[in-house]
């Protein structure tokens, strides 16, 4: 792939015309409490944070804190997702509710699952939902399999970002098929973000070194021993991976060592074999 094509003026991540400085997007699930959520999100430097849409607990204490108090939409771009939806229809209803909840906010994460064991995306339903959402004016960031043909179809339907999995949601198994990701990166023009499967900082760095435009993760931070510290590690990893990608790595030379120090001037010259 041709690196300069993906470099924005100040290397911002541009999604649906809006620039972001951070290429790390984070979820807000699985934290101990909203305070830990807030501290981890702040340490990650993320500007876009995902939230789920769920039934309000009826009859609960009125003073119960709310996630959007900890992460105010005035400060963060809130990305409502459709996690837990297994049909296009459920995803559509969820995101219409989200748009009402967030005062007309159009940027959404579409995720239609195929089965509860793997949480693998149901791509026919994802494509059907994407088509309707785009027609209704949503800006769709679509979680998808790492199939280059289907990823391209999502772009062609008008999704503003395509987000293939690295490995199963919450598995922490890292990038299982970098070659598929590479094909997707080569063929799509919208931002491609790895979503799901990141386990630790090196996974995020590898995703960025491949040329991904960003990384979205939740469990890798929330279920780390020290979530706030891991959030910081992920921020650095995404930055490091991005810098390495932009710098362009050296060529691999699998059968040939090349010393970094001069061959000449050794006090005890190596014997020729």
């Amino acid at each position: 792939m041709n690196a300069p094509e993906r470099i924005a003026a100040q290397d911002e991540l541009v999604i649906a015309g809006k620039p972001y400085r951070s290429r790390l997007l984070v979820g807000t699930g699985k934290y101990r409490d909203f305070d830990e959520t807030r501290r981890a999100v702040e340490a990650s430097g993320a500007e876009i944070v995902t939230v789920a849409i769920r039934r309000t607990n009826i009859g609960q204490n009125a003073g119960e804190p709310s996630l959007l108090d900890a992460l105010p939409p005035s400060r963060f771009t809130i990305l409502p997702n459709t996690a837990g939806c297994y049909t296009a229809e459920d995803a559509l209803r969820t995101l219409r509710l989200a748009r009402e909840l967030l005062d007309g906010h159009a940027l959404v994460k579409l995720e239609v699952l195929g089965d509860p064991q793997t949480l693998f995306p149901n791509m026919p339903e994802t494509l059907a939902a994407a088509k309707t959402l785009v027609a209704e004016g949503f800006q769709v960031m679509a979680y998808c399999s790492d199939d280059p043909i289907l990823a391209k179809q999502l772009e062609d339907l008008g999704c503003v970002a395509v987000m293939p999995l690295a490995s199963l949601i919450g598995s922490g198994m890292g990038i299982l098929n970098p070659w598929n990701l590479q094909i997707i990166l080569d063929r799509l023009s919208v931002p491609v973000l790895v979503d799901a499967g990141i386990g630790t900082a090196s996974d995020a760095a590898i995703a960025m070194e491949l040329g991904c435009d960003g990384v979205l993760m939740n469990t890798a931070i929330a279920k780390a021993g020290d979530p706030v510290r891991m959030a910081s590690a992920m921020k650095l990893a995404v930055q490091a991976g991005r810098e390495a990608f932009l710098a362009g790595r050296m060529a691999k030379k699998p059968y040939e060592a090349a010393a970094s120090s001069p061959q000449a001037g050794l006090i005890a010259p190596a014997k020729k074999a």
């Binding site: 979820g27 934290y31 939230v51 789920a52 009826i58 709310s66 996630l67 219409r96 989200a98 009402e100």
Partner: protein
């Protein structure tokens, strides 16, 4: 004087002594001031219409909020 109405609220049956507006429903549920969205029978009820739109017998109502998630 209106008759009692039965609705399904967030999946659970619920009875109110008389019909009420969505504003009144939100007050009744002690959810006033919270950021939420409401769907009735699969259609969004915009917050701007809460004061005039009324529940009807048999409605299926969903009241949702944002929670932590990936």
């Amino acid at each position: 004087m209106s008759a009692p109405i039965r609705v399904v609220l967030n999946g659970a049956p619920r009875e109110f002594p008389a019909t009420l507006t969505f504003s009144q429903l939100i007050d009744e549920l002690a959810l006033a001031g919270r950021r939420l969205a409401v769907e009735r029978n699969g259609e969004i009820v915009p917050r701007s219409r809460f004061h005039e739109a009324r529940l009807a017998d048999g409605d299926r109502i969903e009241v949702v909020m944002a929670v932590g998630g990936g």
